[in-house]
Symmetry: C2
Subunit: 122 residues, 2 copies
DNA sequence: ACGCTGATTTGAGATCTGTCAACCTAGAGA
DNA sequence: TCTCTAGGTTGACAGATCTCAAATCAGCGT
């Protein structure tokens, strides 16, 4: 497939239609793996997984960094770095309002990842 | 290899009942994040994601290392190392039969991870 | 303008990871 | 036993990652 790899990141992961069939259904191509692996990698750290959960489960659909940081025994810069990682992976969006910055999850991409791991019933 | 650490991981992730609600539903506790993050981390490498897909989508439910290695332009030891990572994460099982070693996916754990990323319909 | 607070960026150090060459182990078969 | 092949283990190295302190940036007050 001679698809444009760059567009894949923004287009396919954001699309409503799955980017690929479940990995248990057909072997994933190298190009897709290169696009998808970073998202899993971003979730592959305990702190980021918790951050992602706090963001995705926020009652108002968003949560302030000022509410995230004190939940960990880590410095502000470290939390900021992890949030940037989640942002770069396309898992969250950030939005500054005045002094505060709010993060919200990108449900489409989460669904893409969930769909990838789907397994047929045994 | 430490059988203990693996056994711990498998205990939680191997159950038929979800280990935790979706991360978008409730904030994941630190302990659960510590158990689950390594699984995502293992999928967070393009080579391992492809390996996992080849294993999970194998027609007979299993695939020989001798069929995995030539699919990549990487040395045998490197593939072996990645397979060990997947094994340690509890994502696959290996089984030696004669000269050859076969790998098979652990669907329960894949389902756990998929369930974790589930998002309510908007 | 000034200072204050919240958040990100930069720089640095310790640790972890991906990779390969070299070596070792397990099993099949003569 | 000896040899051959399939995989795994060890050791080493370059590059990535996690973390913090220090510096910087962005807004809101007075």
């Amino acid at each position: 497939m001679s698809k444009q790899a760059v567009a894949l990141t923004l287009t396919d992961l954001n699309a409503d239609t799955p980017c690929c069939p479940p990995i248990a259904q057909r072997r994933i191509p190298a190009e897709s793996a290169a696009v998808l692996a970073p998202a899993f990698k971003a979730l592959g750290d305990p702190v980021r997984l918790q951050l992602m959960s706090m963001i995705a489960s926020a009652p108002d659909g968003e949560i302030c960094v000022c509410d995230l940081t004190p939940a960990f025994e880590l410095s502000g810069p470290t939390i900021s770095h992890h949030l940037k990682t989640l942002r770069d992976a396309g898992l969250v969006d950030s939005d500054r309002r005045g002094t505060w910055v709010y993060y919200r999850a990108r449900p489409t991409i989460m669904r893409q990842l969930a769909a990838l791991l789907t397994v047929e019933a045994t």
